[in-house]
Amino acid sequence: MIAKHDVLVVGAGCAGMRAAIEAFDAGADVAMISKLHPTRSHSGAAEGGINAALGNAAEDNAEIHAYDTVKGSDYLGDQDAIEVFAREAPGDIFQLENWGAVFSRREDGKLAQRPFGAAGSPRTVYAADITGHVLIQVLWEQVCKRDIPVYEEFFAWQLVENDGRCQGVICWDLLHGGLKTVGGKTVVLATGGAGRQYRVTTNAYACTGDGMAMALHAGLPLKDMEFMQFHPTTLYPTGILLTEGCRGEGAYLINKDGERFMKRYAPNALELASRDVVSRSEQTEIDEGRGIEGSVLLDMRHLGAERIIERLPGSRELSMVYAGIDPIYEPVPVRPGAHYHMGGIETDNGGATEMTGLYAAGECACVSIHGANRLGGNSLMETITFGRRAGRSAAEWALTHTTVEVPESAERDAEARLRELLDRDEGERPWKVREELGNSMLENFAVFRTEEGMSRQIEILEGLRERYPNVVVEDKGEVFNSDLTQAIELGNMLDTALCMVTAGLVRKESRGAHARPHDYPTRDDDNFLHHSITRWKDGGVELSKSEVRFTHWEPQERKY
């Protein structure tokens, strides 16, 4: 063990940094571990905005925000958590602003808010279309101010469970090499999503579900893993995100005939229906032959150059660099792409998991705010509000307990496993397995799902998992061995993908992002209004379920 702290935060994106700041302010000795420098985290790539019912642009309140979120979740979100979330969001936004976040403003000097999908009021606070970047910067500034230590480019690999509680993390030191163990009275996982399981994804290379996999392998439950959000507007051919803010500012979606097809699917909300609805509509257009090369078109031309340059400069730059198209003059080809894990490590409203001393927040966690479908702008807000809550709970627990012990056997076992991987000289290169994972997940577990496709996907995943123990790491060096960490990431993606498809196969209904139009086209509240719980047992997935928590809102049919 190289060091120990009261609170150890794994991951330094928005949720991780917010948790660390809160734990520091609560008086704890806190440190962060991250496989990237904090400002490289993928929270920074969030574009459109962050939802809080400030009521700056139109009348709004926490209750409407909560209702929109419940409805958006297809009634699978836990309503007590959603109420906490909607109530505390405005205070968190004002705090970010007071810390210096460079948000866009209204004429009266207050924070500007823009309309977003499935929101009853313009509720999305934004900074042009680089909101995530602005948040990452302001949180990093606050981390610097507090001088919170960061174990940078430490690849967290394994949780240390000792005496029935989580007491640290075993990491690979990317920059210098070697396994290093950092102890913590409490550990907060804030490692983000796993979109890299798919070939077409908005996610960074770093989004490989490391935290979810660590928790899974430590015996913890992952909740609602089958719900993977497909963002409706990812750029062809790279899958790079174009913000929902484009549609929020008024962009149209059109098919190859030039028709605004959303009027057939969501006659009221049109392009601003919730993401699952828009993605399904696009996929239907593409499947029925009204797309162009597997895409539809996002048309911003009528917004005019000035508005595009002022409000959507980043999206314009992305279109120009990666598709060669200037949206001021031409529509941009887009298609649904893997974007966000609604599911994750099960936590309570304070971020606590089933294991004493272990907390989780952000995309890797499942509180659950998002249920079966997340609303645009709610995830950044979740990272802040629940990052704060998890940081607070972790610090409070840590400050009332004293010891940290990491048994030598844990470090020895990890070392042995690592050596086995590093010393293997013959076998398959990991990229082949990764490529097959990405292609098959996109084919069999994307916007639309079928019994046959999911069964096939489970077989494919089992096949890939059998090949995985034979992958070979070519780089045998100690310094910046990213070949090694990428091989470990692949294992994490394979295991979490198996949880997703296994949970998806038994959910015989269509709810939110889990759409089965061919065999189970409707929602079935009688049999499936419950969370899916997946655990790792004997090298496979064990399924169970848990209750959805209701407060005010009875399930209703969902129309936009």
Partner: protein, 365 residues
Amino acid sequence: MQVGLKIWRYDSATGDRALREYEIEAPEEATLLDCLDIVKERHDGSLAYRKSCRMMICGSCGMRMDGAAVLACKTRMYDIAEEGRVPVISAMGNLPIVKDLVVDMDPFWAKFKSTQPWLQPGYERPDDGREYRISQERMNVIHKEALCINCGCCVSECNAMESDPEFLGPQALAKGMRFVGDPRDGATVERLERYNQEHGIWDCTRCYFCNERCPKGVDPRDAIAKLGAESIRLGIDRDMGAKHAKWFVRSAETTGWLREEELIPKTQGYVAAIKQLKFGASLARHGKVRPIPFPHTANDVDEARNLRKLVREQDRDGALGIVQGERALGRLEHGHKDESLEEIYERPGAAPRPWLPEVEEEASA
């Protein structure tokens, strides 16, 4: 397409350095980063470079291509491959190399942190517990500086830092301007005092490489100029650089031309000027010295005076004289007004066109 790359490999353990050439097959839309991935996956797993978002926002993949800093994920390879060029890829400059294309960013972050890069609130939080009320126009002052993704491309290219490794550098100073220009920040004077010290703003050589190479349009050199203007506006002008700049303005508004014979005494002081009498004599020989009590006045001096007056009247002393409400990314030019789409995509240097959808013009009506 076929892409050739020459990559400078470096092993810090042995100190071995070698230029290796790779020939790969890549899709037409491939970026430099995609090509490096192909090299690592299929040719040499030990190649080291940083990457994450692949969409120009995380700032991980700064490196040099043919000697100039780029973000690998922003650099499309199509044109280079078509020309048959084989670019040389190497690690960023001005930072120690760890392995291959990975540099040690610690010196970069140490300078960043030394500028106290966090808001120091100038007045009490708004008493209703909500946000500060500030106009968008006022926030636009720091629009460009707030775009910085800390990739280090500017630092890699900084000529001043090459000769003075302790120079704060374009990134840290741009971050400094992000706070000096923020109306919510109350530490402006302290910050400017710090940047006016040795290794600060006046040590910039104004080569403009940082502006040139910044992948996000932050224009760090402009930020440094704004810090200089703010310093002088607030009377922080001890540094020779500040005095030098001030004399240019004073000289132009009084006589309409630069009175070089007074530049040295005004900038370096009279003692220094006496030591440089030899230089003064040389100036005199070339007819550049006029009797100081009776300086020559330019014919159109009123133009210079009116310009100065205008700046004062518009209250654009300091950084506001440099800020034009510009939007960095808005400067991107790529669209077409008079040209046909075909002409655009056939233009030299244009991004390869994936395909062009046929859409009726009336579609969006």
